[in-house]
Symmetry: C2
Subunit: 383 residues, 2 copies
């Protein structure tokens, strides 16, 4: 049956209003009609980012947005600390290396959070203030780990010189990330996540301190040159032809988000996470990341004794539910349930109930039928 | 009335099938369902590009595609010749400069084609073979000039070393561009043009000779690193999250293009161009570019004595027809009629008929009412 339910960490489900907006015939991007949309979208992006800083839109994936966030503010040979405890942390190390930065990766095992003490050590030892940036993945999509950005950011602030650059691809719009209160310099994200629209747009929020660094930054750039986007955004336009249809769709989802309210959005994601984790426990399946540092967007499960790809395959075939697998060495070792963006309590109940049937079908009989749903229900009944 | 007709050079009109495809809920991009789509899309892109070379898809605008096409094959300080006779030629000069290439711009007046003799001179004088690339805008969107790529390419082939890199953003899918026959090394284009879908995807075709240069090219890149796209495309996947909905839409329009056939597509664009130009002449308005080098995608008109923005504004208000204006110093001096992509003979008749009413309303009485439509009709009747 053609009745797909996306429970992967991206693309995430898209509301019908946004799908219909996508299907509207594109309009010219050099028109006052489009400028009016840009103006409202930009204002609402600032609201969502809790900032008065620039929030810029690029026609790129999340990776392109993070790359832009790194290269616009640095020069060849600049020393940077990059947190790496998953697929995406590794990618930001690779990007930093590709551009000839002096990269120090601060690693942690996949499934564990970054150790803030290691950052404290490096930053406090840097009395010459040579560290130009600290690059952190907030929610590590590959493992469902939420890194302790607040603490690391505090250490960066004590250092005083370094910029803090954040991959917020699966945390923006799911977890409270008060850019201005915390003083985050660069925050990058992508459209197919909390924004509730399909992939194709990247976002970068830029602080005044980062713009200062931009003035002397020497890494080459053109399409990813954020200065161009800033200049154009101030005039409610774009430096290059934008993905008009996606922006028109974003226009509708940002309004939906404003209607829901930031607190409600964050509370909902917290609830979805708690219910999912309770249910997984109820099914006697091991959670891959501990409660202390569990992402509000993705829950990774390591179903020891059952190949995770068998679970995913059966969930897909039997119930049209798409779950994500593990990446690299976690292939077939974990599966990931996305609960990010346009996801409701009902979706979690559906997913868990279907997971129960699937597990039983695969011979996993180590749980009481109904226990997963009951555990999720308990969270929903009490919140 | 909400009945917009896009006659700008991009975004171009999108067929209903593609709009409805855009509105389909995104599917996961790491699925066999998506890989099957990728496989067919890639095959059809090769057909459209008349090549067995790689044709890669990036989540960027046309500018991003051209930038990728330049930076993947060159190193800092490399000598390049860049043709510059309009807004886009200027942009490729800027990109080359931003990346520290040793740039020589071969300029021509806006509205005139590049002088092939200047290329011959430079290339023949380069006995040390230091010119690494020649970068040419095929159809200069800002002026409606089609540069003589075939001749310049022949000169590059005589040089023997340099790569030929082509901005084919408004010529691909409108004008015969036989990549393999001509031996074009890098050909870049964008989705909102001949491809008949909204903006958001860029395309780069890469020859084996260019891949050889890639191996030693040292300009930094990651998101725009075409090697990553090539590796993934070979496995019918993408290195980064792709704009799934746009690719699903492209899947439908490439099938439409195959049904129409390459020759018919090129003949249609030729006919649309000829009819538009005949009509403009019939209305006693000066064409901005001469017949010899007129783009098959855009016709620029310089309505001396009438502000072109007044014409555009009235066409828009009265008939919901969007025309493009002039850029930079041509602002308000020319208007541009796009006849690229999903455009039919009927569209040209509509546009010209509406233009007649508009011109009369603005006091331009230097033509016989009906003369524009009659001139276009003559082309349509005889082809």
């Amino acid at each position: 049956m053609d009745k797909l339910m996306l429970m992967i960490p991206g693309p995430t489900p898209v509301p019908e209003t946004a799908l219909l907006a996508l299907a509207k015939h594109p309009i010219g991007h050099r028109t006052s009609e489009f400028s009016n949309i840009m103006a409202e979208v930009t204002e609402n992006l600032k609201w969502l980012h809790q900032t008065t800083n620039d929030v810029l839109m690029l026609n790129v994936s999340g990776t392109g947005a993070v790359e832009a966030g790194i290269i616009n503010f640095l020069s060849p040979g600049d020393r940077v600390l990059v947190g790496s405890n998953g697929k995406f942390g590794e990618r930001w190390v690779e990007i930093s290396q590709a551009y000839g930065l002096n990269v120090e990766a601060i690693t942690a095992e996949w499934g564990k959070p970054l150790d803030t003490a290691l950052f404290a050590e490096k930053l406090q030892a840097d009395t010459q203030k040579q560290i130009k940036a600290v690059i952190i993945t907030h929610s590590e999509t590959s493992t469902g780990v939420l890194n302790d950005l607040e603490t690391i950011n505090r250490l960066v602030k004590e250092h005083g010189q370094a910029l803090i650059m954040v991959d917020a691809v699966t945390s923006l719009g799911a977890f409270n990330l008060p850019i201005d209160t915390w003083g985050l310099d660069v925050v990058a994200s992508g459209s197919q996540k909390g924004y509730m629209i399909p992939p194709g747009l990247g976002f970068v929020a830029v602080s005044p301190k980062a713009w200062e660094a931009y003035k002397t930054a020497k890494l080459p750039k053109y399409y990813l040159d954020l200065g161009k986007y800033s200049k154009s955004t101030a005039k409610n336009t774009t430096p290059f032809t934008p993905p008009v249809n996606l922006i028109v769709a974003l226009h509708t989802t940002l309004r939906m988000m404003k209607d829901e309210g930031l607190d409600s959005i964050f509370t909902r994601h917290q609830r979805l996470k708690n219910a999912t984790r309770a249910a997984v426990r109820g099914l006697n399946l091991p959670l891959f990341a501990a409660d202390d540092y569990a992402s509000p967007a993705i829950t990774a499960v390591s179903p020891q004794g059952i190949e995770s790809d068998k679970i995913r395959s059966l969930m897909n075939k039997r119930f049209d539910i798409a779950l994500a697998g593990g990446q690299d060495h976690l292939k077939n070792k974990i599966f990931r349930i996305g609960h990010l963006g346009f996801v409701s309590d009902r979706d979690i109940l559906s997913c868990i109930a279907a997971l129960e049937v699937t597990l039983t079908e695969l011979g996993h009989e180590n749980f009481t039928p109904g226990a997963g749903v009951a555990a999720a229900a308990k969270i929903f009944n009490h919140s």
